[in-house]
């Protein structure tokens, strides 16, 4: 079997090359304020102290004057925002088999909490257009890049042909400004998916380049009946009094924990609201597009039933008290609003105050649902039943004999550091007694902000070969069933949860910390809490050169990715 040599350096280089707007390239780098934070900076491109929302920890004098070891960067800096088109709300684009959609990425004007920002949009919309198609359909998207950085589009969760996966340096060249790339999409699995850039996601995705793809079932009664269907895209954005908080120019900042935002958004806005009739059952399609934040979503006490995972329905529908959703994950839930009234959509978490060593309840308002009148169709009885999905069970049945097989690969999630700020090193060596399974909040804004991928190398360590991250190039064949045991090492320098995403294939989670998973669905992204060992079983169906990585944007750029190749024995030259 011929092995391809994965050009990790090329890929990493491409991922890390931002092309700056000419104005930004020419700007005086003295504006980076390397000699102290300008707390009253009127220019939004100046480095200033990272927002310290809700922090009780006093600023350490040694860090007061420090800035990340990269320039400050804001796409579109210096543009006359009034000259940009105002982005408009997302629209649903129904696509039949064979249809073509022309869509661009462009700079747009957004107004958030009364302030105008230069941001980005697919098709001029926030979020990007919702592409809706039937399962089994194939469509074409002619994509044009009208932003000032090279980009690609990754169609997250789709088992599409490798050439259209949107990975620069692996499946395609970057789409430069003004260029067009034609993607051919196919939808073999019912469910909710999403698309986003696969270059400088920390910037482009954060500024609005994301959208959903809803794949409808072709079977009758695939889902229980509901009164309405609503997509909810969860995101956050980091701003301060001077506007958007700048990004790293040569490399992302916030490499340790990822860039937490301090403005919560649903479907791109901060005041999301939905009017319904009392007694409605609403099907929400949730997608988390935040760089790093994991959400715990409540619907104001309304009953919630989980229907489906990333790539399929669950084996059994299940009532839950909230929805925990990590970056890049999707869940489909039915929610029953039985009474008239107002239901607050919230993110309720137990944040950590590292200074005081305490858990701090934190609730973010995400939106409001107002129920009045009376629903015309009553689906309460259907909602009350937690259905057993025999089709999902039957689909998974063929894989159960592999559940307890020995792992084919053992992966350890860890971090290597080099030249981190001395105070960060000292602080983190002191504060090692407890790492939470999930980081729900930005617990160390300064230390996190100061770190870039040059100082913090997030690492996927193949424990069987000793290879790390992009040195890894697993070789599989179509038809293989591959078990990967992923261990999130709590003894690493800074353990943190990681949403682990596998491109182009689907998998089930068979065990969590050795405990068999009793209710599975097919997934493409799974959260790996600190200290946990997660066994996933990959259904290898899709030939080509793929990658798997942490979906925290800053961790990906700090190296937390690996390659694998799937060969199709019936097509010896496929994927080369």
């Amino acid at each position: 079997m011929q092995r391809f040599r994965f050009n990790g350096l090329l890929l990493a280089a491409v991922l890390l090359i931002p092309v700056l707007p000419a104005q930004a390239q020419e700007m005086d780098h003295s504006m980076h304020m390397h000699h102290g934070h300008d707390m009253s900076a009127g220019d939004s491109l100046a480095w200033r102290m990272a927002p310290m929302d809700g922090m009780t920890m006093p600023m350490m004098p040694e860090m007061m004057d420090d800035v990340p070891d990269t320039g400050a960067f804001l796409p579109g800096f210096g543009m006359d925002v009034s000259m940009l088109p105002e982005a408009r709300p997302s629209e649903i684009i129904d696509m039949a088999n064979g249809d073509t959609l022309r869509m661009d990425a462009s700079m747009v004007r957004r107004t958030i909490n009364g302030r105008e920002y230069v941001m980005m949009a697919y098709g001029g919309m926030y979020p990007g257009p919702l592409i809706r198609a039937d399962r089994g359909a194939k469509v074409v998207v002619e994509f044009t890049n009208n932003i000032e950085m090279p980009t690609t589009v990754h169609w997250h969760g789709l088992r599409l042909d490798n050439a259209f996966d949107g990975i620069p340096g692996l499946t395609q060249d970057p789409v430069e400004t003004g260029e067009t790339f034609t993607y051919e999409l196919k939808f073999p699995d019912t469910g909710m998916y999403w698309y986003h850039p696969h270059m400088r996601e920390d910037v482009q995705q954060d500024l609005g380049l994301y959208g959903n793809m809803l794949v409808d079932p072709t079977e009758e009664d695939y889902y229980a009946p509901v009164n309405r269907e609503v997509p909810l895209i969860l995101d956050d954005l980091l701003v301060d009094a001077n506007g958007l908080f700048p990004y790293g120019e040569e490399a992302p900042t916030h490499a340790l924990m990822g860039r937490f935002g301090n403005v919560m958004m649903v479907n791109g806005i901060t005041d999301y609201s939905l009017d319904i009739e009392a007694g409605e059952v609403v099907r929400f399609y949730l997608t988390n597009v935040a760089n790093t934040r994991t959400f715990n979503v409540n619907f104001g006490g309304a009953r919630i039933k989980v229907i489906a995972d990333d790539v399929s329905k669950l084996e059994r529908e299940q009532f839950v008290s909230s929805v925990i959703i990590a970056p890049a994950e999707r869940y489909i839930v039915d929610v029953y609003f039985d009474d008239e009234g107002t239901y607050e959509i919230t993110n309720a978490v137990q944040a950590i105050d590292h200074f005081r060593g305490t858990f701090v309840p934190e609730t973010h308002q995400l939106g409001t649902i107002s129920a009045s009148g009376s629903a015309s169709a009553d689906h309460a009885d259907a909602f009350a039943e937690a259905r057993t999905n025999e089709d999902t069970i039957a689909d998974i049945d063929g894989f159960r004999r592999y559940f307890d097989k020995a792992p084919d690969h053992n992966l350890r999630l860890t971090i290597e550091t080099k030249d981190l700020h001395p105070m960060t090193m000292r602080m983190m060596e002191v504060d090692t007694l407890y790492f939470p399974p999930i980081e729900w909040n930005e617990g160390m804004p300064m230390m996190n902000w100061l770190s870039t991928g040059d100082e913090a190398k997030w690492t996927l360590l193949d424990e069987d070969t000793g290879k790390k991250s992009m040195e890894i190039n697993w070789q599989w064949e179509v038809g293989d069933v591959v078990k990967i045991r992923v261990f999130n090492d709590p003894a690493s320098f800074h353990p943190m949860n990681h949403p682990f995403h596998v491109h182009g294939q689907r998998f089930v989670v068979t065990h969590i910390d050795g405990v068999p998973n009793r209710n599975m669905g097919w997934k493409d992204t799974v959260i790996i809490p600190v200290g946990s060992t997660i066994d996933i079983l990959v259904d290898v169906t899709n030939p080509g050169k793929w990658m798997a990585h942490c979906h925290i944007a800053e961790h990906l750029h700090a190296g937390m990715m690996l390659g694998f190749e799937v060969r199709d024995p019936s097509m010896p030259n496929a994927g080369r």
């Binding site: 839950v320 925990i324 005081r356 002191v430 007694l433 969590i512 809490p529």
Partner: protein, 201 residues
């Protein structure tokens, strides 16, 4: 014909052994006292790699004896912590607190007649207490909690009685959740000059 007894050698051997007899006796008792299941568990460790309830070691709670209860002065125990099953991998209460299973197992305990061990979880302030239940004949019990920080407490209680809202007997062993190790950094380390009173510490 049996060889003649050499009394001088016998005396020499007795002189060697007698001062060491105490140590040898203790060694023998210790070997005999080793719980058989320790050997079994070591042998079967590989087999149970995927067994239910394999806790992530990081959050495992070691139970430390108080040495104050007869029959349990050398007690050992552990609380294995795993997430309550949910479609999301981890499980939370509505306010975002982790919802976890705790599988308690004790050993090296000889219970007096009419007594049972009961496991409890309580906040570090001891202001909220919840029973996980009485340990079974294998000295095991499982329960759940959503306390952010908690102590795991094993007490000696009258046999056959349902655990109430608060333990009545002496504490046999206790341990602390990993999160309990997280405490204020004021007053030590890089913050030793901090005005702790301002922060309430």
């Amino acid at each position: 014909m049996s060889p003649p007894i050499r009394f001088d050698r016998l005396v020499h051997a007795m002189r060697f052994l007698l001062p060491r007899i105490g140590f040898l006796l203790i060694l023998a008792i210790a070997v005999m006292a080793l719980p058989a299941r320790d050997v079994d568990s070591a042998a079967s460790e590989a087999d149970t790699a995927c067994a239910e309830g394999v806790s992530p070691d990081y959050y495992e709670i070691e139970l430390v004896t108080t040495r104050k209860v007869s029959g349990a002065r050398l007690a050992k125990g552990v609380g294995e912590v795993t997430y309550v099953q949910s479609p999301f991998g981890i499980s939370l209460s509505e306010d975002g607190s982790y919802l976890v299973n705790i599988d308690v197992s004790m050993s090296n305990v000889k219970l007096a007649d009419g007594k049972q061990l009961v496991a409890w979880v309580t906040t570090p302030q001891l202001d909220e207490i919840s029973s996980l239940g009485a340990l079974d004949e294998n000295l095991q019990v499982s329960g759940q909690t959503d306390f952010n920080k908690f102590l795991l407490v094993i007490t000696l209680e009258p046999a056959g009685e349902e655990p109430g809202t608060m333990w009545t007997g002496p504490v046999v062993s206790r341990g602390m959740s990993r999160s309990g190790l997280m405490h204020t950094m004021a007053g030590h380390g890089p913050f030793e000059t901090e005005p702790c009173a301002v922060y309430g510490y």
